[in-house]
Amino acid sequence: MIDLNDEELERYSRHIILEDVGIEGQEKILNSKVLIIGAGGLGSPIAYYLAAAGVGEIGIVDGDVVDLSNLQRQIAHTTADVGIPKVESAKAKMLAVNPHVKVNIYHTMLYSGNILEIIGPYDFIIDGTDNFASKFLINDACVLLNKPLSHGGILRFSGQTMTIKPRESACYACVFDSPPPAGVVPTCSSAGILGAVAGMLGTIQAAEALKFITGAGTPLYNTLLAFDAKSMLFRSVKLKRNPKCRVCGENGITELRDYEQALCEVKNA
């Protein structure tokens, strides 16, 4: 365990005074390793809050560079960052908030050949990607390596998220089985997304990671939390594991494969 110095005691004081966190919980946060996949609309707020919270080691994966059309919602990036890799832009902001955290960047697209190596060292994985091929691959890899995962998806004014403890709670494939056929899929780039909705869902995912690390509260296991920002109604749908799940069921997967991706959604994050 780490002994907190005066600067840290002050920096994290609002966590430490929380009954469910305390010094012990803050030390757990400082000793934790979390991987964020996607440095976009979801990844941006997640990166800020995990860095601010003092998560000891934060990995961030994204193969893209910052585009002007990202700035309406991807708050880790600024106008001056257009053209530079998103992971570099995000890392700079995270270290500006909290120079004590270690940020590992992966400027690459995830695929079946590199994902196990990348997620291997981390305690908790957060999916902030923008396509089904990645979302299913991440779920598969987390089930194979038994890594807890926060799944997130957003579209237009809506968002949904679930937290997964592989082989103990329902996984993404228990609910959605496999990617929808290419062509019927609206994506953020084709259907639009209210920028603040990305922030709403990303901060929920960051909170789930911090709950998991500290043990505070109950993660969204066996629960799909979905909201519609137009009505601002939130709904919790209770789930249970599917014993016949293609991925985590009795005859579940034993190796990874890449899922097909519609041409209009080739960007990783």
Binding site: G40, N70, T129, Q160, L224, V237, K240, K267, A269
Partner: protein, 69 residues
Amino acid sequence: MKLIINGEAKEFSQTKLNVEELLVLENVEQPDMVSVQLNDEFLKKPDYAAVFLKDDDAVNFLYFMGGGE
């Protein structure tokens, strides 16, 4: 019959109704973009026409959301 659709009770005049017909009545325009949960169990798409609903069944339509960027 009375069904609980996405958490809300709803009355249907039909006495016989399968999941495929319910999707039409509920204006689900792209059945490929939803996962259907009936009383906690997820249905396979090829079974929609064969699964008939009964009074007080709880049906959830869970939409695919692929965004994150």
